[in-house]
């Protein structure tokens, strides 16, 4: 390799780096300056499940950060959803894509699954809530929720969306770890059976 080739390689490297830099700067400038940018406040899909070094809460300077798994890699084979981790965790269990341990030391111990749906008739116009014990007892023990969070007695629990959003009742998990409350219809899933007020022909 003669001097000229080395020099040319260097020039190409500098130009290439500068081009990348300018592109990033432009992208950033456009995103900052365009008041009508599409999904202005929403992280693009390509940035979901970011690797730890770029997720903003891990310090890239920590040696350990580089050893941590990227959620993107871990989630590749799991069924997708539209919010939270963008993973449908319940379906992952049901499909057998995951088989997490129920006991830290005993991989063979199986959960005690309790198949009972609780229907909560809600006051507003939303469909009624169907609470499936089955999906919850796949992950949890009865004592995780009863009696501290939910009194195991019909009608004894006063639940509102406000309290859920503040992290109480269902909100102890949903909105933090389990699928977030933006997924309205995953709970509000049963159409009300009672007919709505029947209007007469001349009611208009």
């Amino acid at each position: 390799m003669n001097i000229r080739t080395v020099r040319n390689t260097r020039v190409i490297a500098v130009v290439f780096t500068a081009a990348i830099f300018v592109l990033f700067a432009l992208r950033w400038a456009v995103a900052e300056s365009d008041p009508n940018a599409f999904n202005r406040l929403l992280a693009p899909k390509t940035e979901r499940n970011a690797p730890p070094a770029t997720d903003g809460i891990h310090d890239p300077a920590a040696f350990g950060t580089s050893l941590l798994q990227s959620p993107r890699d871990a989630f590749a084979a799991l069924p997708k959803s539209t919010a939270g981790n963008f993973i449908n965790w319940s379906r992952a269990l049901a499909d057998g894509a995951l088989n997490p341990r129920y006991n830290i030391n005993d991989p063979t111990q199986q959960p005690i699954v309790f198949d009972l749906n609780i229907v909560r008739e809600v006051k507003g116009s939303m469909p009624d809530v169907v609470y499936p014990h089955k999906q919850h007892t796949e992950w949890l023990d009865c004592a995780n929720c009863h009696p501290a969070i939910f009194i195991p007695l019909k009608g004894a629990n006063n639940i509102s969306m406000a309290s859920i959003l503040l992290g109480e009742k269902c909100g102890v998990c949903h909105g933090k770890v389990a699928f977030p409350v933006s997924e309205c219809r995953r709970c509000h899933s049963q159409t009300k059976t009672a007919p709505a007020v029947v209007r007469g022909e001349n009611d208009d």
């Binding site: 260097r10 490297a13 500098v14 780096t17 990348i20 830099f21 990033f24 700067a25 950033w28 992280a43 940035e47 979901r48 499940n49 970011a50 730890p52 770029t54 997720d55 903003g56 809460i57 891990h58 310090d59 890239p60 920590a62 040696f63 350990g64 950060t65 941590l68 798994q69 959620p71 871990a74 989630f75 939270g84 981790n85 965790w89 995951l98 997490p100 341990r101 129920y102 006991n103 830290i104 030391n105 959960p111 992950w139 949890l140 023990d141 004592a143 995780n144 859920i164 959003l165 503040l166 992290g167 109480e168 909100g171 102890v172 998990c173 909105g175 933090k176 770890v177 977030p180 409350v181």
Partner: protein
């Protein structure tokens, strides 16, 4: 040399630009910073997603006594070495042991104890609501 310098500067700027945005931590990631900052360690980032791939909620929240609340568990290294909390697994037997300090202590210094992307966290980010009296935080977000 110039190329190296330029790429270093470019990477630096891109990194800074990335950090300046809202942190896009994984949903459910818990930052634990009850003692870390004061002790000169990076805060702990606990990835819920990684652990729930391997364990059901009951394993930690039932058997190990972890409460459902960021900041609600008084976890320290003495207890962990003693086999409590994280130490029930992170003992070199079920999972790697505690000498790998910065696999856990890998958070950005100064990050408060919190559950990332928690619903109780979002209203607090709005300046209008910050002036109003807030109910007692249930996930230990630093006021």
């Amino acid at each position: 040399m110039k190329a190296v310098l330029a790429s270093t500067v470019a990477v630096g700027i891109v990194t800074i630009a990335g950090i300046e945005k809202d942190a896009e931590a994984e949903y459910g990631d818990v930052v634990m910073n009850q003692y870390s900052d004061d002790a000169g360690m990076r805060p702990v980032v606990f990835p819920h997603w990684f652990h729930r791939i391997r364990f059901r909620c009951k394993a930690c929240h039932g058997d190990l006594g972890f409460k459902f609340e960021a900041g609600g568990n008084d976890v320290n290294m003495v207890k962990i070495i003693d086999g409590q909390y994280c130490g029930a697994c992170h003992n070199g037997d079920v999972a790697w042991s505690i000498e790998n300090c910065d696999l856990c202590h890998s958070g950005v210094a100064g990050t408060p104890t919190q559950v990332h992307h928690s619903t109780t966290q979002k209203p607090k980010a709005r300046p209008v609501e910050q002036s109003m009296s807030q109910p007692e935080s249930s996930d230990g977000v630093e006021e």
